[in-house]
Subunit: 142 residues, 4 copies
């Protein structure tokens, strides 16, 4: 395991909310992050699909990690936008996020969320957002 | 309790993911929905604040309920955007969402998420998104 | 005219693109900005409605002015999201933007764009975005 | 010129606002659209960069054309989000938009806007949005 991946996994392990949901950092580095989440029955919404909140959580976290891969550990998601492309059903979610532009204190990132069902990977959501360094500004935009 | 509130609560109770997190529908009707969530230690991120994924979940669900209040039960969030306004710490989150424009098959909604700390209510996130009826289109854009 | 309104109008007058389109700053101050634009035939799209690009321009500029009203002159829009609520037809567009949360270097703002037709004001678009100070960061996120 | 490109150019030529600004459809088809715009002095903002309104217009229109390439002529942008990645200076803007997911009545699209300066192409903005068919719903969400 690369040093950067180990570092990313320590950060993820320090998130109590992620311990509740169980995402794993499966790739990390060079303005890129991939999170993988095993789907559990308690992740559903009322129609049997995976709840949007689970997908949003994964996209948001992947965006933050991608930004952190270029800006350092002290980052947070300032804002993001997410389109649900199709209702998600399956065994596993994979969120892949990349930096598409960066400055000294922020990075613009995109994320694709895929659902794996019967070995097939399908895009279920697409996100785009801004990750900001918190060392140079007080934590958070306000 | 109004009939509409009872109906909304039945839908929320049917979401396994919400049973895991525990939000309550505290107001509902007339293009408006309010969700309240007691903060638990497992909702944190690595710096001790409430994880963005919890806030996004609550905003997304409140947007869907606000849209559902005018479009009916068979709705889902098509897309939304969220700005984290400040890091959130406190005992409770309240998401208040309203319809600002609607057509026959979709509604544009806004949502404010507040964190309550020591009795003080502070805005911690603001969202805007589109809720679509799924009866008239197959579930989801794809 | 208040000193702040005069200052805002000088900035607007210094935008060549606005000289082409002709928006006026009709209110400004205290985390609020209102831009008014007389609709001209060359602002149309192919179905006879006002082109989305005209509405976006007005929303984006109003967001920047609202942010500038609390952060100072050296600001720019970092990102925004816009929902077209209805096709716009009419004599005049009015964009009203407000700061809903701010920090030292950025402000989260919302904007409603109204179209005026026969004296009736109707919401035609809603936007939300982030305005950033450029003095403390090099101009632009990258 | 392909039949589809000719068809796209007829639609663009029917937009009065585009006749004012002058974008050309330089590629079109298969869930993809490229618009190119020669930068003129009247497109500037107060700091000498290209006005965000010009960039938004181009991104929005490219998103609509990409969606139209799979959904047909009767489409409009329902909503979009745009991040300005860097201040834009140069001779030409190119917006490239692609469909990333589609259903029967809507398409989720992404767009990258590049500025060309001295032959160098640099990303200056990134957008993501929803294009909807207007034949099956009354024009616009409301």
């Amino acid at each position: 395991m690369s040093e950067q991946l180990a570092w990313g996994r320590r950060i993820l392990a320090a998130q109590p909310f992620n311990r509740l949901l169980g995402a794993e950092l499966t790739a990390f580095g060079d303005g890129f992050a991939e999170l993988t989440l095993e789907v559990r029955p308690e992740f559903g919404q009322q129609h049997g699909f995976i709840h949007g909140g689970v997908i949003s959580f994964l996209a948001d976290d992947a965006l933050t990690f991608a930004g952190g891969a270029v800006l350092g550990e002290a980052v947070l998601t300032s804002e993001y936008k997410l389109n649900y492309v199709r209702p998600a059903s399956g065994e596993r979610l994979i969120a892949r996020a990349s930096v598409i532009g960066r400055g000294r204190t922020q990075a613009v990132c995109r994320c694709d969320v895929f659902v794996i069902q019967g070995g097939q990977e399908k895009l279920c959501a697409a996100a785009q957002g801004t990750i900001v360094k918190v060392a140079e500004a007080p934590p958070g935009p306000a």
